[in-house]
Symmetry: C2
Subunit: 232 residues, 2 copies
């Protein structure tokens, strides 16, 4: 019995801490759920979140000082969701036939599977709370940088300068997030609309990647006169 000095310091420390973590998770999930029902974060009331989570309003303060702090915790959570997306993308075979279309399909499934986190990202990325907005943009920037790094490691676009690669990736991410809001607003059982949307999504990415491929070609000529191929 009295063998170790302080036994079970973390070994069996599941009960109380785990319960606390659970209600904390419930609070976070409750906030996400409410936003999934078409509410903006800044319109969420503390009592409302607590009610949805099934705890007394005052229990909220055991976990967060105020709703803003909960919002930042939510940002961290969606950051994890984004990182997981990248990890799954890395598992994909590099350059099989029709890879772009397949990536788009995987992404669409991922968004639909993680509906609430993407609703949160979409609506609060340009949303009311400045603190939240900047925090989310920070996560998105990290996501973009990791994507650029993956491109480098995969040997894609080896001729592209790093700064340009980052810019290309930021365009891809911008397109992905724009597509996410479309996916989220898509009424279910509208296969035709969804197919149209996917096709648009694919073509947009094609344009961006086309630009990345021919980066050094004659992009500079565009600022002079777009549309006419001849002329000095």
């Amino acid at each position: 019995m009295a063998s170790g000095a302080s036994p079970q310091k973390q070994a069996n420390a599941v009960s109380r801490r785990a319960r606390k973590d659970q209600t904390r998770a419930n609070l976070l999930q409750a906030a996400l759920t409410l936003m999934g029902e078409g509410r903006s974060f800044t319109s969420l009331a503390l009592r409302e979140i607590a009610r949805e989570a099934g705890v007394a309003p005052t229990a909220f303060y055991r976990h967060f000082r105020n709703t803003d702090e909960l919002g930042l915790a939510l940002v961290e959570e969606v950051g994890i969701t984004l990182r997981r997306l990248l990890r799954e993308a890395r598992k994909m075979d590099v350059a099989p036939r029709d890879m772009l279309r397949r990536s788009v399909s995987v992404y669409q499934d991922y968004v639909k599977l993680n509906r609430l986190p993407f609703v949160f990202i979409s609506s609060e990325r340009s949303g009311g709370s400045r603190i939240l907005r900047l925090a989310i943009r920070n996560e998105v920037t990290h996501f973009t940088n990791e994507m650029a790094q993956d491109f480098r490691l995969l040997g894609l676009y080896p001729n592209l300068p790093t700064a340009s690669l980052q810019m290309v990736c930021s365009m891809i991410v911008m397109t992905m997030l724009a597509a996410a809001t479309d996916i989220l607003d898509l009424p279910p059982d509208q296969a035709l609309l969804e197919a149209e949307m996917s096709e648009n999504f694919v073509q947009q990415l094609k344009i961006i990647l086309f630009g990345a491929t021919h980066w050094d070609q004659d992009l500079a000529a565009l600022s002079a006169k777009p549309g006419r191929k001849d002329e000095a």
Copy 2:
């Protein structure tokens, strides 16, 4: 005096109707102002808007059934702002040297000059209220279509199929709106940051327009294997 049967039907009818229109405008402006201070639309309280507008809460009901209706009126107003932007863009000389950069500069000024409407568009385009979100996306779609039509009339990208032209324009608009949120969040007196942002903006547009110019070239090849220029 008693010359016409019903005189002053519209001639001097400024007093009452004009006053009503004024307080209505005050309510709309009040809502925009509050959102400019970092609040989402769904978090705005009716009494709060009325207070900011300098009228009694009950006066609100003389103009709107509820806050949602005011939101839709706001969407109409920002639609006008977008149309005005297009009208000013049409006044620009076609194809002077460095036109793209100049367009970007004009757009930046326009966003800064119409801060509140763009804050509204940015935050509510993917925001909480579904009704508002769809209404704004509708306005943005109109804006995109008009832009595509202008491209046609100007003879830009004559070889591009209409559907593709619309897609390109939607990418341009997407980029513009993403840039708008950057512009709005930019701290003042940060010329360096602003210049970097502009440069990014310009390059993103270059990529899109480059894709539009070489649309028929070999975009299809991308889906096979991006990055390697050789190989079958």
